[in-house]
């Protein structure tokens, strides 16, 4: 049996790490990590290299590509610079990721659809028998359908009202007309003449 491995916080590994079993990285790894089991990069962990694992959880810093055959989880406080590829990917709020992220592979999608399909069928199936049992139910359903039909004309009217508003809004954008003094040359003299 493959036992759990730990790379401690005060340890630096410069080289490749391969093999089976779970691995927890709390220190530094400068090289690729290829493990068939689960890998956890702890908050103090720093990896410069590609990581490949079944279930990969990152809380520390990784500069390299992440590949998970099952799932990749990037936790809060993590910093990932590199591409992420896995059937399931989780990036928590507070995590920093820079790179291409791609969910691929069928197993996760197949699991998700199996979970959703019965749930949807149960929701649709439950209301249907009730209107079928009550004869008045179809009549009640018809006015409900009309209600949404009435609302579109209301929205059209709203659009028609809003349509003339648009040119009005355009007018204030013009600069104000120039203020020209009304008094022309010789008006004072004309006033004096009128007094006389």
């Amino acid at each position: 049996m493959a036992e759990n491995s730990v790379i401690g916080s005060a340890t630096v590994v410069s080289g490749h790490v391969r093999g089976a079993g779970a691995l927890e990285i709390l220190g530094r790894v400068e090289g690729d990590v290829t493990v068939t089991g689960d890998v956890v990069v702890g908050p103090t962990g720093r990896v410069r290299g590609n990581i490949s694992a079944a279930e990969l959880t990152v809380s520390g810093q990784v500069q390299g590509n992440l590949r998970g055959s099952e799932v990749v989880l990037v936790e809060r406080g993590a910093r990932v610079v590199g591409d992420i590829a896995s059937p399931r990917i989780g990036i928590a709020p507070g995590a920093l990721v820079r790179g291409h992220v791609q969910t691929d592979g069928e197993p996760a999608l197949a699991q998700a659809s199996f979970v959703k399909r019965p749930a949807v069928a149960a929701r649709v199936g439950a209301p249907q028998p009730v209107p079928a049992a009550l004869l008045k139910a179809p009549h009640k359903a018809e006015p409900r359908r009309l209600e949404p039909a009435r609302s579109p004309p209301a929205s059209v009217a709203a659009e028609a009202e809003s349509a003339p508003v648009r040119p009005v809004k355009a007018e204030p954008r013009r600069p104000p007309p120039p203020v020209v003094p009304v008094i022309s040359k010789g008006t004072k003299a004309k006033k004096k003449k009128s007094r006389d």
């Binding site: 036992e3 401690g8 005060a10 410069s14 080289g15 490749h16 790490v17 093999g19």
Partner: protein
């Protein structure tokens, strides 16, 4: 609890440098340097020069060993390489080939 554990089934090709205890039950090819104790388990296969305070070998080690305190080869352990340590024991049933320098 040991700071670093290289479990059975895990292989490291490269150098390990640390300031904490290191336990190796897997494979290591490269170099191992620490300021604390090193334990090589019975399932381990190590091809590396080892530097530390003390070394206990129950598996296979090929490489030179420098320990500031002591080196112990347990029964079933195998060590091929030169040893430089103040204290050195070889248990009954252990294998060893190499020079010993006890800094006399």
């Amino acid at each position: 609890m040991a700071g670093t554990v290289i479990g059975e089934g895990l292989t490291i090709e490269g150098d390990i440098t640390g300031d904490e205890e290191i336990v190796i039950n897997g494979n290591l090819r490269g170099r191992l340097t620490t300021t604390d104790a090193v334990t090589v388990g019975s399932t381990a296969i190590v091809g590396a020069d080892i530097t530390g305070t003390s070394l206990s070998v129950a598996g296979q080690v090929t490489g030179d060993v420098t320990a500031s305190e002591r080196v112990d080869i347990q029964a079933g352990g195998k060590l091929i390489g030169h040893i430089k340590a103040a204290r050195f024991t070889i248990a009954d049933g252990a294998s060893f080939k190499g020079n010993v320098d006890m800094e006399v």
